[in-house]
């Protein structure tokens, strides 16, 4: 759209200003993590130093410390392990459920669908107290299996919701044709619907994985020993010894844990939005 010359210049300046201010405000903490990760302690903890620049040579000390003196690698492994298992459980439970909800016509299917969506709104902070007792009763305290048991309770509802959208977009005739050609309904689902929905399934995989890495309350409640932590709890709690914060290592750990997730999330952003907009955007 065109505007008069001065208006255009004015808008351009406003645009650049808004973008700059927001980028700085939103990304600054991560920039700060980056800078802190490579600064020597003498530099970090000398108040007279300008904190925005390197007053002493950059160092890899914090990274070395993080990877050799802490359980950081172990936490990464724990998180990956829980992530992979939870993703598998989520797929096994959500795929058939989403498919049958997408194909279930009438009020009933719609109601179950809405019910499942609403359970996604139930926060961990509502359930962690009773669940901690359930976990204790099952003998799963301080075990990653506690998380594996509980996490699907929120990954499955949102995954069902996301997948339903994908399955609804697949024309019914396709499975009908497959069934006419001799497949059972389940066969048609496995051989036709799943291959077509790979991008939807990939979205769910990544979404579930990021939810697992971001969860804090359950991990804090169920896990206690240092070697059993997830990154979300291990870094902020066990990289602090008493009152001593290893800021360099802490910030490096935060950044290392965040970037891969951010990258994956960004790739699939549009699909996540579709899951959140509940039909208010068409």
């Amino acid at each position: 759209m065109q505007t008069s010359l001065s208006g255009r210049a004015f808008r351009r300046i406003g645009h650049v200003l808004v973008i700059t201010v927001f980028t700085v405000a939103l990304a600054f903490p991560f920039y700060w993590m980056l800078v802190t990760s490579f600064k020597q302690n003498v530099d970090l903890y000398t108040m007279a130093n300008n904190p925005f620049i390197f007053n002493a040579k950059p160092t890899l000390d914090h990274l070395t410390f993080l990877f050799t003196q802490t359980r950081f690698v172990r936490w990464l492994g724990n998180t990956t392990f829980v992530g992979v298992v939870v993703v598998s459980i989520t797929l096994v439970l959500a795929l058939p459920a989403a498919y049958s909800l997408a194909r279930l016509s009438g009020r009933w299917g719609e109601r179950v669908g809405i019910g499942i969506f609403l359970t996604y709104l139930v926060p961990p902070t509502l359930l962690f107290i009773p669940l901690s007792r359930v976990i204790a009763y099952l003998g799963l305290q301080d075990s990653l299996w506690a998380l594996i048991l509980v996490y699907p309770s929120f990954t499955v509802p949102f995954s069902i919701w996301l997948l339903m959208g994908f399955f609804k977009a697949i024309p019914r005739e396709l499975e009908d044709a497959a069934m006419v050609d001799g497949l059972t309904r389940f066969g048609a689902f496995v051989k036709m619907v799943i291959p077509i929905s790979t991008s939807g399934i990939l979205t769910v995989v990544i979404f579930t994985f990021t939810l697992v890495t971001q969860e804090f309350v359950y991990a804090l409640t169920f896990l206690s020993s240092e070697e059993n932590q997830m990154i979300g709890t291990g870094i902020p709690i066990f990289l602090v010894r008493g009152d001593v914060y290893y800021w360099g290592a802490l910030m490096a750990a935060c950044l290392i844990a965040t970037l891969p997730i951010a990258f994956l999330y960004n790739l699939f952003l549009d699909r996540f939005i579709a899951g959140f907009t509940v039909g208010a955007v068409k």
Binding site: M1, Q2, T3, S4, L5, G7
Partner: protein, 345 residues
């Protein structure tokens, strides 16, 4: 009221790519109904949007009322536009939709009611003012869009295929209504369509566009009877003009001028035609066949007749075209050239 003029107006979307609009020069007349006609993708919308100020030209000038408006925003151009989708504001009532331009241009609030009612009455939607756009039929929406366009009495009206969302029946009546409406308000109007019937019926003049290039600007009779080139000749008319390539030129004649010899009097060229297909369309017949012998031998042609009952499939008949109905085009430029005597035998 005002005259719209473009000078070498060009729009290139992708640098180095083909222009969507290429060096268009046109000038409307005061109060005229000018139609942009062209196939899909010919640049009609782009041209219109540049005139409206919604798209910045790559080069060239736009003048409205004699003033260069290139750097003016849409609202400073005193134009009104009706979009193909009507673009009614879904959350506002019909009344507030029509009042919006008044509000936006800071017309005194006391005048709103009077003006909105005037516009609504002109289009016969006075009873719909409290409704929301989604509660209206397609035809009613179109009228609201028109009312919103006229309410502030613009200098120029721009309409982009405003009838294409209507069903065939509604379209005919809406077309008639638009014509009457234009006669009444007399505002210079530019109307975009890819429907030649609409263009012929409504336009004072028609601008034929293809690939962003103007092929002809003339009255409906001029573009139909004296097409500037082979593109215009074949784009207008259904079936299109028959064209046959001879050695150095192209000869064309309209299907309605190709008739059985017996019904053609005066100077005429004639040839034998083997009838291959006959379609009955109610008011007329479309006959197609292949010329037998002569310089046009093997050429497939169409004829449009009021009666074809005497013809039989696979029969061979004598057909003729009056000499003065033959059009000639240059073989290389495809532009129309002076009539000349040719023998088709």
């Amino acid at each position: 009221m005002a005259v719209v003029e473009t000078r070498d107006l060009t729009k290139v979307f992708k640098e180095g790519g083909l222009g969507a609009v290429n060096s268009v020069n046109l000038e409307t007349r005061e109060g005229e109904f000018l139609v942009f006609l062209g196939p899909s993708g010919s640049g009609k919308t782009t041209l219109l949007r540049m005139i409206a100020g919604l798209e910045a030209p790559t080069s060239g000038d736009i003048l409205i009322g004699g003033r260069v408006v290139n750097d003016l925003s849409p609202r400073e151009r005193r134009i009104a536009m009706v979009f193909q989708s009507y673009a009614l504001y879904p959350h506002l009532s019909v009344y507030r939709n029509i009042a919006f331009p008044l509000q936006a241009q800071k017309v005194k609030k006391e005048l709103h009611k009077e003006k909105v009612e005037w516009a609504a009455a002109l289009l016969g939607i006075g009873a719909l003012l409290e409704r929301k756009p989604r509660e209206l039929s397609g035809g009613e929406r179109q009228r609201v869009a028109l009312a919103r366009a006229i309410v502030r009495e613009p200098a120029v009206f721009l309409l982009d295929e405003p009838l294409s969302n209507l069903d065939a029946k509604l379209r005919a009546s809406a077309r008639e209504e638009l014509e009457r409406f234009h006669r009444r308000v007399g505002t210079t109007t530019i109307y975009v369509t890819h429907d030649q019937v609409e263009a012929m019926a409504m336009g004072d003049r028609v601008l034929v566009l293809n690939k962003g290039v103007v092929h002809q600007l003339g009255t409906p009779a001029e573009v139909y009877d004296n097409p500037a080139d082979t593109f215009v000749a074949t784009f207008l008319g259904s079936p299109p003009m028959n064209l046959a390539e001879l050695a150095e030129l192209i000869v064309g004649f309209r299907p309605e001028h190709l008739r059985p010899s017996s019904s053609v009097t005066g100077d005429a060229v004639s040839f034998r035609l083997k009838v291959e297909n006959i379609e009955y369309l109610g008011a007329e017949w479309i006959v197609s066949g292949t010329v037998v012998g002569g310089r046009l031998g093997g050429k497939k042609v169409f004829s449009r007749l009021t009666s074809a009952q005497d013809l039989a499939l696979e029969g061979t008949y004598d057909f003729a075209v009056p000499q003065r109905q033959l059009k000639f085009f240059d073989r290389s430029t495809e532009k129309r050239i002076e009539p000349r005597a040719v023998s088709l035998q």
